[in-house]
């Protein structure tokens, strides 16, 4: 899984690329949160859903929290265009 620099800057020691076991997008984000407590809150709101200006792509396709992540999948977490 590839993480955006603006996210890893918020968590000391978090790398830009991390290998995680397969599962759902939500389970992968839980795995991130287990390593870097609080990371789930940065990526997901309490709906629960991936935050509006955060995009998760699994093998090139945009995915929701319940989307599957097969073994060896390429997962990107990207920040959407936002700001001012």
């Amino acid at each position: 899984m590839r993480l955006p620099a603006s996210l890893t800057a918020l968590f000391s020691g978090a790398p830009r690329v991390v290998e995680l076991p397969s599962g759902s997008v939500s389970e992968l984000i839980d795995a991130l949160d287990a390593r870097w407590p609080g990371m789930r809150d940065r990526l997901c709101d309490s709906s629960p859903a991936v935050r509006r200006h955060v995009n998760v792509f699994v093998n090139g396709a945009r995915a929701r929290l319940d989307g599957p992540v097969p073994p060896a999948a390429d997962v990107y977490i990207l920040t959407a265009i936002s700001g001012g």
């Binding site: 603006s6 918020l10 609080g38 809150d41 709101d45 309490s46 959407a80």
Partner: protein
């Protein structure tokens, strides 16, 4: 003991800190901090120097940031700073307040959270969340935000909050139960005959006068008010001001009769200083009389505004007064508002200013 003054500046692009000795003539700027997140409000803890910032980022959501080393390094948390599954999620933290070992955070959509562990985790103040008027709260221009948290330094049970545009609410039991405190404040934006509702007023800023009394002041969208009974009733003190509209109000650190305001020309007239001539207006008799002071401020062609949390006083003698503007300038007075100097410029739009006086 000579003190060191820190101005804690929240901005659209991070936190900045301005620091001076007790003369308050020369200032040193550091920042931006908090990864340039929009930070709506920053406060400091006089006991240990810790700094807390309330903010929210379009990508990564709400958080309360914390520094225990004067801003060199920061942590952030929103653990527990969330509504129940299925409700509209918390978008941003808008205000923070410290007293009696508790850290309170006000959020958008309007709600109040409390931390008992120095900002590591939060829990909702459920009594306000469940208030029967809540379904009818309407957002102001900045959203439905809880922007003012007033804690009684002598009584941890007494809490006032201000919500735009739901009005002032008070709890005398530590947050378990709440009641509106808006009697006497106008809502000119409602139909004739309905302009003094129980709640729904657009309060812009709520502050408590120093001392053990029950005096509060509020700058409202529709007027300026004082209460001498903890918000049970309000009286208009806007006569003598150049406008009934403005955002910030800053209480004097020792004199309950003194207050500082930055009136703007009007809600629908651009929201800058009247005639483009900024002035800080001051009362020393509880709002009976007002005087504008502009020495050291731009004398014309200045069309900036000052937001609701962007004016503050320090605790030195004489008291310092500060405000930050939408154009990124910070102005300071070391003589209780009589004269001013610009101490920073070209910062991002400034959301808030608070002071922290520490031993040098």
């Amino acid at each position: 003991m000579p003190g060191k003054v820190k101005l804690l500046v929240g901005s659209k692009k991070g936190v900045f800190i301005l620091e001076s000795d007790e003369r308050r003539r020369s200032w040193r700027l550091t920042g931006p901090f908090c990864e340039t997140w929009p930070i709506h409000h920053v406060v400091g803890d006089r006991r240990d120097g810790a700094i807390y910032g309330a903010g929210g980022n379009e990508w990564f959501g709400p958080a309360v940031w914390k520094s225990t080393d004067g801003g060199v390094s920061w942590t952030h948390s929103s653990h527990g700073l969330a509504y129940a599954t299925g409700e509209t999620p918390v978008k941003a933290a808008w205000s923070v307040a410290l007293a009696h070992g508790r850290l309170y955070a006000g959020v958008e959509p309007a709600g109040l959270f409390v931390s008992h562990d120095g900002g590591a985790s939060f829990e909702p103040v459920q009594g306000l969340r469940d208030h029967p008027t809540r379904p009818d709260w309407q957002p102001g221009g900045a959203g439905l935000i809880l922007h003012s948290i007033v804690l009684d330094p002598d009584d941890p049970q007494r809490i006032w909050v201000a919500i735009s545009a739901a009005g002032v609410f008070y709890s005398g039991d530590g947050g378990a139960t709440w009641a509106p405190r808006n009697k006497g404040t106008r809502a000119d934006f409602l139909p004739e005959g309905q302009r003094y509702p129980e709640f729904g007023q657009c309060v812009h800023c709520l502050v408590k006068a120093p001392g053990r009394g029950d005096r509060l002041y509020q700058q409202n969208h529709c007027g300026m008010y004082r209460s001498d009974d903890g918000g049970e009733t309000w009286v208009s003190v806007e006569e003598g001001l150049p406008s009934t509209f403005g955002f910030p109000a800053a209480a004097h650190p020792r004199d309950p009769e003194a207050l500082f305001l930055f009136p703007l020309n009007g809600a629908e007239q651009g929201r800058f200083a009247p005639q483009g001539r900024p002035a800080v207006w001051k009362t020393t008799d509880g709002g009976a009389h007002w005087r504008g002071r502009s020495a050291g401020l731009p004398q014309g062609d200045a069309f900036f505004g000052v937001l609701r949390q962007a004016m503050a006083t320090d605790t030195l003698e004489p008291a310092g007064v500060y405000f930050g503007a939408g154009n990124g300038s910070v102005y300071a007075s070391a003589d209780e508002g009589e004269s001013w100097m610009r101490i920073a410029e070209n910062l991002p739009a400034i959301s808030s200013i608070e002071t922290l006086v520490v031993d040098a």
